[in-house]
């Protein structure tokens, strides 16, 4: 069963992240906040697709419910004033 650490590593390996946090204790529902310059110029759907691609096949089988919140560094800075 994937845990938040494994998910975090998969994302970190694929995307240069300024901030990356993955929470989730029940092994099924996870919450991830991902801040990456790779999201620049992409809409929310495209940003999430980048994260799903980073998770690869693992995403299809095991992670049913991964709540994603994605930001460019600029957007993240704006809400963390």
């Amino acid at each position: 069963m994937p845990d938040s650490e494994q998910i975090k590593n998969l994302i970190a390996q694929a995307l240069p992240c300024e901030f990356l946090e993955v929470r989730g204790e029940d092994g099924v529902h996870f919450e991830a906040v991902v801040v990456s310059a790779a999201f620049a110029g992409k809409n929310k759907v495209q940003q999430h697709q980048l994260v799903y691609r980073a998770l690869g096949d693992r995403m299809k089988q095991e992670i049913h419910a991964l709540s994603l919140r994605t930001f460019t560094p600029e957007a993240w800075a704006a809400i963390n004033v």
């Binding site: 929310k44 759907v45 299809k60």
Partner: protein, 103 residues
């Protein structure tokens, strides 16, 4: 008509389509329930499609949108997002705007 063409026809023929697990009255998954609640809060008219009744559709829709999960919202034939993105768009009032312009 294969499943991809069926989906294309369905999202083109209806301004707002929500592919979900279960129905708005009886959602079978928390995220699908949230999506239906958000559309209800927007007072939106939409077509709800229960993917649990059609395994081929349930997988086909993921390929169509290149999106691995259900629910999926389509406005004017365009994939808008799943539950997370719907909530974000709702909180920023963008979803209400998009729904009012749905054609």
């Amino acid at each position: 008509m294969d499943i991809q063409e069926k989906i294309r026809a369905q999202v083109s023929a209806n301004p707002v389509v929500l592919y979900m697990k279960g129905t708005p009255q009886f959602p079978q998954c928390g995220f699908s329930g949230m999506a239906a609640q958000i559309l209800k809060a927007c007072g939106a008219e939409y077509v709800a499609v229960d993917v649990l009744t059609d395994p081929e559709l349930r997988e086909g829709i993921k390929i169509y949108a290149n999106w691995p999960t259900i629910p999926q919202l389509y406005i004017s034939g365009e994939f808008v997002g799943g539950a997370d993105i719907m909530r974000e768009l709702y909180e920023s009032n963008e979803l209400q705007e998009m729904l009012s312009q749905a054609a």
